[in-house]
């Protein structure tokens, strides 16, 4: 039978290709639906760029002071680059949180889940595609956007100095440009791994909630912390939660010497991937992330349209 022959041809297609094609298209589908995934970081970069243009007024003066040996100006010089990274990363984090909360909830609310489920894409593939947005796609976008932003900032600064007759060579010498672009991907990978359980939790709530996904995401942790505080007057849960949000920084970077001139840039030797990878919190977090995602897969299978 012709359909059977066709069937066999499919079976003999490379297994990897067959497995990744639905995943690839599922990720593209997410980007079609959620344009905030790239618009968010771009808006962060644009706001930063606008603010940066105002600081350029002081640039020629700073450069002259720096040339005169005033090392405090070094901070002013590099700070905007750090701000750019922070702003874009923050925008991506907010986008990631809002995205995850809606990812498995919105499709059930508008009943489009019935269309997605009518196609040969497994629940596992769907959930993995959605999880890959905050864990893979957003970090990549943040890296590209910050690198481009930094480059534009550098070129604009160079232009200003050329026009005003400043010392361009010194600007390029004093800005640890390459270093920054190497630290950023490290920090992004670290953050993605460290924050994975948070995104996993949001996806789980998104798959479970019948309404008000945001409230359901916030309620359990707040309730547990409040209960602990009132019942035992301790705050272990709250500090654990705080550690989950900011702990990646202290675990992934070695302590910065107090006499370090610049708080915004971390020199390469102070990256501590070994320390990060041996942190129990990382692996416990990843375990939780895996459990949350497994539960989300299960819920997507069980729950229909709302």
């Amino acid at each position: 039978m012709s359909t059977e022959a066709q069937f066999d041809a499919e079976e003999s297609a490379p297994a990897a290709l067959r497995a990744t094609r639905p995943l690839y298209w599922s990720v593209r589908r997410e980007l079609w639906e959620n344009r905030s995934i790239y618009i968010g970081p771009l808006v962060g970069a644009a706001v930063n760029m606008l603010a940066f243009l105002f600081t350029l007024i002081h640039l020629p003066r700073s450069m002259r002071a720096l040339a005169a040996g005033d090392s405090t100006q070094q901070g002013d010089l590099v700070m905007p680059y750090g701000h750019a990274t922070m702003l874009v990363t923050l925008a991506a984090f907010v986008v990631g949180v809002l995205y995850c909360l809606d990812a498995l909830y919105g499709e059930r609310r508008d009943r489009s889940v019935l269309f997605w489920k009518s196609l040969p894409v497994s629940d596992l593939t769907t959930v993995l595609a959605k999880a890959s947005i905050p864990l893979l796609v957003l970090p990549l976008i943040v890296f590209a956007v910050t690198a481009a932003t930094h480059l534009i900032m550098l070129l604009v600064s160079t232009g200003v100095l050329l026009v005003s007759g400043g010392d361009v060579a010194m600007l390029w010498a004093r800005l640890p440009f390459v270093q920054v672009e190497l630290v950023t991907p490290y920090a992004l990978i670290v953050m993605a791994l460290w924050l994975a359980p948070i995104y996993g939790w949001l996806l789980l709530v998104s798959a479970w909630a019948r309404r008000a996904a945001l409230l359901w995401a916030l309620f359990p942790p707040i309730a547990i912390c409040a209960f602990e505080k009132i019942a035992f007057n301790t705050a272990h849960c709250a500090s654990l939660l705080g550690y989950r949000f900011v702990g990646w920084f202290t675990q992934a970077f070695a302590a910065v010497p107090p006499d370090h001139v610049d708080p915004h840039f971390i020199p390469l030797p102070e990256l501590a991937p070994g320390q990060f990878l041996t942190t129990a919190g990382l692996w416990v977090g990843l375990l939780f992330a895996a459990m949350f995602l497994a539960a989300a897969v299960r819920l997507r299978r069980d729950r229909g349209a709302i």
């Binding site: 298209w25 589908r29 009518s118 040969p120």
Partner: protein
């Protein structure tokens, strides 16, 4: 091979019994109409067949367990659910790209040919299309998939009569080839009577009628009688009687055609009339 085979299919929601031990067998190449009142269990049965819900009992669709193998099964099964479920943000071109990307049996050229007959623009988003156009788009996607089973749950709900007619015409002329199986539920029964090869009535989670359309035509007869012959007609024990313009329309199950011909003109009744007779008063 049977396309769908169920034995003792059961599904409860709390105390509500949606499916109460359903046995059914749908052979390949049939067009089955699954007809029932609201809440009869139609959608639950379809959801079970499509792997969207759990169930008790045995169920086999194209040789697979739909709950455990939904994603695999969906290579051979297509469905259009009861309401427009295409996501509103999706562009027509994206819909074609995506289905082509994930479905190994999607023939994009075929979908394009079907869309070319409509006024749907590639760059339009689903939210910009009328309800009829959304259904046309969904039908174009589904018809371009070389599937073995197509499930339609109220596919024409909310469409005007022109779109409804066009929908079933396309399905019969461009899609159905005698080897595919189609299961359709609808309340607009009269419009699909000529389309079906098989008929199934479901009520309160049970199948109350299950026959082919040939059996249906052989089994059910309807005759319109003048008042003076009404008594004679009633003596033949009709299963249902209704009055139209002072004349009685009597519906018979397993009656002798010759005997009825003496009373008046004998016809094959509409599915809707038999449905009313079999289901009885829905208020009961």
């Amino acid at each position: 091979m049977a396309c769908i085979e169920a034995r003792g299919l059961r599904k409860t929601f709390g105390k509500t019994i949606a499916l109460d031990g359903v046995n059914l067998r749908v052979e390949e190449g049939r067009i089955l109409g699954l007809i029932g009142p609201n809440g009869a269990g139609k959608s639950t049965a379809l959801n079970a067949i499509l792997g969207l819900t759990t169930y008790e009992g045995e169920l086999n669709v194209l040789g697979r367990d739909p709950w455990r193998e939904r994603d695999r099964l969906m290579r051979d099964v297509c469905f259009i659910a009861d309401v427009a479920v295409l996501p509103r943000w999706l562009k027509v071109s994206q819909a074609l790209d995506y289905v082509g990307g994930v479905h190994p049996r999607f023939d994009r050229a075929k979908a394009e040919r079907f869309l070319a007959k409509t006024t749907i623009q590639r760059a339009s988003k689903v939210r910009e299309l009328s309800k009829g156009m959304v259904t046309q788009l969904h039908l174009a996607l589904v018809m371009a998939i070389d599937a073995r089973l197509l499930v339609l749950d109220e596919p024409t709900l909310g469409l005007d009569i022109l779109f409804r007619k066009q929908f079933y015409d396309s399905l019969l002329n461009d899609y159905f080839d005698g080897t595919r199986t189609i299961v359709v539920t609808t309340h607009q029964v009269e419009e699909i009577q000529h389309v079906l090869t098989d008929l199934m009535f479901i009520n309160r989670g049970r199948i109350v009628l299950n026959c082919s359309m040939e059996e249906f035509a052989a089994r059910y007869l309807e005759v319109t009688v003048h008042p003076e012959q009404a008594v004679a007609g009633r003596a033949l024990r009709p299963v249902h009687e209704r009055q139209v313009f002072g004349r009685s329309i009597l519906l018979f199950d397993h009656a002798d055609r010759e005997q009825l011909a003496a009373l008046g003109e004998v016809r094959t009744p509409s599915i809707a009339d038999v449905f009313v007779a079999v289901m009885g008063d829905p208020a009961q």
